[in-house]
Point group: C2
Amino acid sequence: MGHIGKQTITFKEPPVITYAYATAGPKEVQGPMGKYFDHPLEDELLGEDTWEKAEARMVQLTIQGLLDRAGKTPADIHYIYAGDLQNQVIASTFGVKDFNIPFFGLYGACSTMGESITLASMCIAGGMADLVIAGTSSHNCAAEKQFRFPLEYGGQRTETQTWTTTASGFVLLSRCGEGPKVTSVTPGKIVDLGVTDTFNMGAAMAPAAVDTILAHLEDTNQTPNDFDAIITGDLGNCGYDIAIDIAGKLGTDLSGVLQDCGKLMYDDEKQGTNCGGSGCGCIASIFTGYFYKQLVEKKLKKILIVPTGALMSPGSTQQGNTIPGIAHAVCIEMK
Amino acid sequence: MGHIGKQTITFKEPPVITYAYATAGPKEVQGPMGKYFDHPLEDELLGEDTWEKAEARMVQLTIQGLLDRAGKTPADIHYIYAGDLQNQVIASTFGVKDFNIPFFGLYGACSTMGESITLASMCIAGGMADLVIAGTSSHNCAAEKQFRFPLEYGGQRTETQTWTTTASGFVLLSRCGEGPKVTSVTPGKIVDLGVTDTFNMGAAMAPAAVDTILAHLEDTNQTPNDFDAIITGDLGNCGYDIAIDIAGKLGTDLSGVLQDCGKLMYDDEKQGTNCGGSGCGCIASIFTGYFYKQLVEKKLKKILIVPTGALMSPGSTQQGNTIPGIAHAVCIEMK
């Protein structure tokens, strides 16, 4: 393995994603992706008394589902990489703590699935562990309360606003075994074009998504046509169009190959989600629930997943800061 | 390199900490460690209009100081690993964004210096980068406002309470070069003994510190006497005593070798800090400002730094959750 180009790492012995597991909430299960989730939730509270605890419980259920599917116990796992949107990544903390697995807490906003798979892949490819788990989560009610308004407030949603997904996705990465392989990663830079509208996160993240995609293509000397799909998460409808536009102006046509998990998650018209889905759990659950299976079944052979994050807090916005974006690209191939 | 024992990684080609840089606030500069900090601050606002922006500026100044010392430009650096205590690690985000270096955002509470050096070392040792930066920060006024009370409230401090440090420390890790080397790392598990007192973080973190130290000793078949110092950060006075006590009951005498950056940072009696220092920046600035230089001058040959974090948010505590702890151990040797 080694570092190539500006910011890409290619793995000589690519880690294998031997198992993946997706959990999703009731609204997500009613959407177009609904049938692909491994663990559909009937209740967004999961028997807990707060949204925050419900998200932690969802993380725990997702990791347990992954372990069960893989026939592994927590003692088999060397490290776990996880993060979420809650202040001080509390959903991950309380979701993983009882597994007793050494833990790396991450914060990458909605880019966290890219960050966790990247760091976990580096660990395996560097020969530092045999089995690691990586993933993330988001919960609509916990996130809306923390970042915007409590649901009970009933605030009207803007046209450019996305719907924070209640979902979680985790993968098991292995040094050996069968399955799709992580062949290269391009960790992203923070890109800040000065967007300040917290109701238009797609616009804030689109420049970062394009920056990382173009860096990956340049570093690896490839074109968009070398991929069956380039999958961002989650630009939503507005951000998607902006990304296509920016890339086009920079001379790269992504229109035939770019998909976005924010666009895939809901039927916006029927479900009232306006501009699509968002939240760390969106691409995490759609990758683990849908695209991973497409790879295993060899319906897709090579994809680039590009989780994108808007790096802000309510406090930073209230203090007049911009909303910088970040995106991490992970190339996954099935031979 | 490879994975040994329960949770330790030893590096066959250990990354070199070629440079380190410490920034500290006015109160910290007046303490016993004051003369060792590279960049003493005269003003906790650093010319900004909010504490939060001041912390981001401190991160920026520390990274710039490190780059200047090393004679490097941002373009020389492959990746940067950083995190802080602010919601959504906003101090790191805004502190690193203008350097245009691919960024991994971390959250490990006050264990973040251990987490960032661990992940950065794995990147270098795995042959995936030549030069990376790792570090963290904390700001007293930003942290107190977010986790406890705004300073203006003038709340009385408890006897067991530590003082959140205004400080930042960053290191440059290199595949080649001269300097202290990271020879092994032991990423920690989350340990939760049910502590719920947010004014006694030392008690919440001590069990995790001991768990990771004992795991490191067991995995590497060493005793405390194999180290010139085992340095936690930041248990403070109460947590330090608890750690010695727990380790003793488990059959390991740490009393001759254990130091704690929370105990080292202030003159508690003169400075009114009660139970010592805390915050990610405490061990970060004392390691980079003091211990790193002791290693370079070969006054110390082998140390184990063990940054410890209390994994809570105001929300998790208000919802009745416990305060789990985590600690990551990093062995640093100078030959």
